[in-house]
């Protein structure tokens, strides 16, 4: 495809730029409330908002009971 005009390449480039813009805006919004930490470093919360109610999560994010 080198040297030839391919509209699909431009469509994909524009989409990529839109994704980048979305991630930038999403990150900027989060930074307004202070520094951001990785999700993996945050404490697991139980239904009452306390820490350590579960023993991890299934890959879908479903909390798994400790037993």
């Amino acid at each position: 495809m080198n040297g030839t005009f391919n509209p699909a390449r431009w469509v994909l480039l524009i989409l990529l730029l839109l994704v980048v813009l979305g991630v930038v805006l999403d990150t900027r919004d989060a930074l307004e409330y202070g520094p951001v930490s990785a999700l993996r470093t945050q404490e697991v919360l139980d239904e009452e908002g306390g820490a350590g109610g579960f023993c991890g999560f299934a890959p879908c994010g479903m909390p798994l009971e400790c037993n």
Binding site: N6, T27, A30, L45, F57, A58, P59, C60, M62
Partner: protein, 404 residues
């Protein structure tokens, strides 16, 4: 897998696509820099692990959906054998690591899930959908990165299906289930690992026999694909056509790196939930009030930026890694025209995969690859039922005018 940029179709003498390589390199640099400066070094390294996943999968054409279809319709089982090898190698490292509980100060959690109605329905739907969609979760991402516009459609509806799945998962997960079954808990890690490896070896041998019976010869996964051009070994680094066994080893190593950095094994579709929820929020849909999004981890993920969430970062890296690979191999050739039947199949397949992955607690990566590598029995149930779903999905491809 329906890959518009299939290596098998590529001519021997393609040049490096410099604009594509530059865009991919700039994207990777920006992603790594953003993760490092905003989150931490681990997140930046995770982005590079994602790049590795995408690069390896593209250069070796490592696919789950296409591999299963080739086994069903043509008796070619190299992909399935390579999958078993990759999962087995990953399990050898991941199961003992999970037994330790934490490494380098990072708590480790396996890709486990309960065995029950939700898993069974979800994996059947996923297997059916991945044959219509033309790729599984990882395959959808790496073919999108490789320039497949059709797979963009699959991805968009994959995300939609995953979001719908989050609305229904609390109900499904309340249905009958056995809970999480991990033989390592009862028998110890070594017997459980040996049993897991025996199961994977059995599938490997059965696949080999099936190919021998159907084709009277067995393609080696140690050799480059027979239909590729003749290339020097070093040239294959960027031109592709890698032996599948090489990809298996590299994917296993990358999945171990993923576990050490993220604290969880390689996963893909949680990010699709999150992207869908964020996009729905932009459309004014109050996703945060749905039960699923009130659970601890999803709620925290929704509150934070996508860059703070591991699977989003590895997914972005995976797409960019595949883009880089396609540019270096000179195979980035997107097309704008998608036949109506193919587009409808992509939409249906995407929706079914997204919904199915949510119900099944993961996709071919989170439930199959990482589930089995974590020693969770739900990975085997997922494998069996997704394969049955695929058998039906291969037949259903004709409804949309797709070749079986």
């Amino acid at each position: 897998m329906t890959v518009a940029v299939s290596p098998a179709n590529a001519a021997g003498a393609r040049r490096i696509d410099t604009p594509v390589v530059l865009v991919a390199a700039a994207g990777i640099f920006a992603l790594v820099l953003a993760c490092f400066s905003i989150i931490d070094l681990r997140q930046a390294l995770l982005a590079l692990v994602g790049v590795g996943f995408g690069y390896v999968m593209y250069q070796a054409s490592f696919s789950f959906a296409g591999g299963w279809r080739a086994a069903i319709t043509e008796g070619r089982t190299a992909s399935i054998r390579a999958q078993m090898l990759a999962i087995g190698l990953a399990a050898i490292a991941i199961m003992p690591l999970l037994e330790q509980g934490s490494v380098f100060g990072q708590t480790l959690t396996g890709a486990v899930g309960p065995i029950g109605v939700s898993l069974m329905v979800g994996s059947l739907l996923f297997g059916f959908g991945m044959q219509l969609g033309g790729g599984c979760a990882s395959g959808t991402l790496f073919t999108v990165g490789g320039g497949s516009t059709r797979m963009l459609l699959t991805l968009a509806f994959f995300i939609t299906g995953a979001l719908i799945g989050t609305a229904h998962l609390p109900w499904w997960s309340a249905q009958w289930n056995l809970g999480v079954v991990q033989p390592a808990r009862d028998w110890g890690v070594l017997p459980a690992l040996l049993l897991q490896l025996a199961g994977l070896a059995l599938v490997f041998v059965l696949a080999r026999r099936w190919e021998q019976r159907k084709r009277q010869k067995v393609a080696s996964i140690l050799q480059p694909p027979a239909d590729g051009p003749a290339l020097r070994p070093l040239e294959r680094l960027w031109r592709g056509y890698w032996p599948l066994a090489l990809a298996s080893v590299l994917l296993a190593l990358l999945s171990v790196a993923n576990l050490l950095l993220a604290g969880q094994p390689w996963s893909v579709t949680f990010a699709f939930n999150l992207w869908g929820a964020k996009l729905a929020g932009l459309l004014g849909i109050d996703v945060a009030s749905w039960e699923y999004w009130t659970w601890s981890m999803p709620a925290q993920a929704l509150d934070g930026p996508v860059l703070a969430e591991s699977t989003s970062v590895t997914n972005f890296g995976l797409i960019l890694g595949a883009l880089l690979a396609a540019g270096l191999a000179g195979r980035f050739a997107p097309v704008t025209r998608i036949p109506l039947g193919s587009a409808l199949a992509a939409i249906a397949g995407g929706l079914l995969m997204g919904y199915g992955a949510r119900l099944a607690f993961g996709c071919n990566v989170g439930a199959l690859f990482s589930g089995l590598a974590s020693g969770s029995l739900h990975g085997w149930v997922w494998f069996a039922l997704a394969f049955i779903g695929s058998l039906a999905g291969v037949r259903a491809r004709r409804w949309f005018g797709l070749e079986s």
